[in-house]
Amino acid sequence: MADEPLVLGIETSCDETGVGVVRGTTLLADAVASSVDEHARFGGVVPEVASRAHLEAMVPTIDRALKEAGVSARDLDGIAVTAGPGLAGALLVGVSAAKAYAYALGKPLYGVNHLASHICVDQLEHGPLPEPTMALLVSGGHSSLLLSADITSDVRPMGATIDDAAGEAFDKIARVLNLGFPGGPVIDRYAREGDPTAIAFPRGLTGPRDPVYDFSFSGLKTAVARWIEAKRAAGEEVPVRDVAASFQEAVVDVLTRKAVRACKDQGVDHLMIGGGVAANSRLRALAQERCEAAGIRLRVPRPKLCTDNGAMVAALGAEMVARDRAASDWDLSADSSLPVTDPHVPGRGHTHDHVHEVSKENLYS
């Protein structure tokens, strides 16, 4: 529909420079430039390398997204940008670009939450989000269970990892197995040929007195590394496929068990899974199985929308416009620890979008 808000979204919270364009809940463009190859030799994302890459990639990626979408910047109804959480220096590059772009075009600016964006992106795949929706976000940077009653104003944290993110555990185990970085896809591949019951790795925080919705992957990571080291010390060959499958099973077992439990406890009949680890084939399969058994509708966007991208930011920005949420101010800052309870960073109340702060004269009349 032509009257739905046309929004461009910019994402730079980690190592992907993402620029997306959406109209309402329709995806028009999803341009991503990744610096992942530059980080591979370090075995993890190096913040300064990421920030440098964002600066170089931004303008070409905006250009590419607009061309892909076949729209003119003049027609945009708003510019959205990840204000946090994420790497401070990386976020700041995106926020600087978004502010300059919005200001130069005379469009409202929406600083939005990265986690809420991961949830909202599913609208581009499966249509409007049911309210409420339970969301399991799992990636190299986050592992959270969130209850979204209104994605623009009411997102409640149910649980989160108390140590490593799920994706981080994949990266670390891949490193121990010499499988390279990032670890998620390669472990998934090896695991398909392995036996998930071969080794009984521990399920973190699943004891009767443990927090019901929180996660812990640090103990699992250590247990797997120790198991591998013991094999090596004994001069035995490490069964990479079985280790990968058993490790992966331990992660996705806990994730899906807790997510389904949260849905049941809260009386929520929709679960969405987002974040890079949502691309994991075993996580998708086990979640599907357990959701079906519990009468819960599972929504998982396609892998490209699960990893960090600009379309998810645009999707949440479009929702902000559609629901008439306040735009952000020109002094919007990047907030590396923006709480998940802030789906966006509204301005302090004065109308600034198209008006000089000093002269109050309309910039684009």
């Binding site: 190096v46 300059a100 010499n178 000093v358």
Partner: protein, 217 residues
């Protein structure tokens, strides 16, 4: 001609408008930790002061450093994106050259800014418009001989009086000086560098110790 100049390579967040003849409005705030928050409102303020809108700008001038990276990128990203949105050229000017221009000295001197980690970004000048050396980053004690006997300007010089005994103002760069220098060079038909950052250091990165390869690839 209407140039919008900005620089975030030093603790100053500085913006100026230049109409080809003179600086018609400018703003400088010193706050090394808030470049990201202060820059856009400063641009807005400077335009309002001049009674102009951003789309009247015919070119953007950005200080390319060297300077602490996080702040430096705020200015360059802003300039880049203005260029894209307005369809106007974006020119780079070395931040040290801006300081040298503002120093307004006849004879040889040195410009040094604070590079943190007990180092300075610096270059030698024959006069306010002529740089003799490429910008470099060094510990003050290591360059004492190369900067001896001449005056020095910039916060890096003021910070290390042992190495720079004849240090004086200006402490930070001003976009007004940057704009004047750029306008002069453009009028003379000179080509200005691309607006790409002068980092001068490789990114800090620790390569984790790898496990010995015993498993099949």
């Amino acid at each position: 001609m209407l140039l919008l100049a900005l620089d975030t390579a030093t603790p100053a967040v500085t913006v100026a408008l230049h109409d080809g003849t003179d600086v018609i409005a400018s703003s400088s705030q010193v706050d090394a930790r808030r470049h990201g928050e202060l820059l856009l409102p400063a641009v807005d303020r400077v335009l309002a002061e001049a009674g102009l809108r951003l789309d009247a700008v015919t070119g953007v001038v950005a200080g390319i450093g060297p300077g602490p990276y996080t702040g430096l990128r705020v200015g360059l990203m802003t300039a880049d994106t203005f260029g894209l949105a307005l369809g106007v050229p974006v020119h780079g000017v070395c931040t040290l050259d801006g300081l040298a221009y503002a120093a307004d000295l006849e004879g040889p001197f040195v410009v040094a800014t604070d590079a943190r980690r007990k180092e300075v970004y610096w270059a030698r000048y024959a006069d306010s418009r002529t740089r003799l050396t490429d910008p470099a980053v060094d510990r003050p004690a290591d360059i004492a001989q190369q900067v001896a006997g001449v005056p020095a300007v910039g916060a890096g010089a003021l910070l290390y009086p042992d190495t720079f005994p004849r240090a004086h103002e200006p402490e930070h760069v001003s976009a007004a000086a940057l704009a004047c220098l750029a306008a002069e060079k453009l009028a003379a038909g000179e080509e200005l560098p691309a607006p790409r950052p002068l980092y001068l250091r490789r990114p800090d990165a620790q390569v984790p110790k790898n496990y010995k390869v015993v498993t099949p690839k």
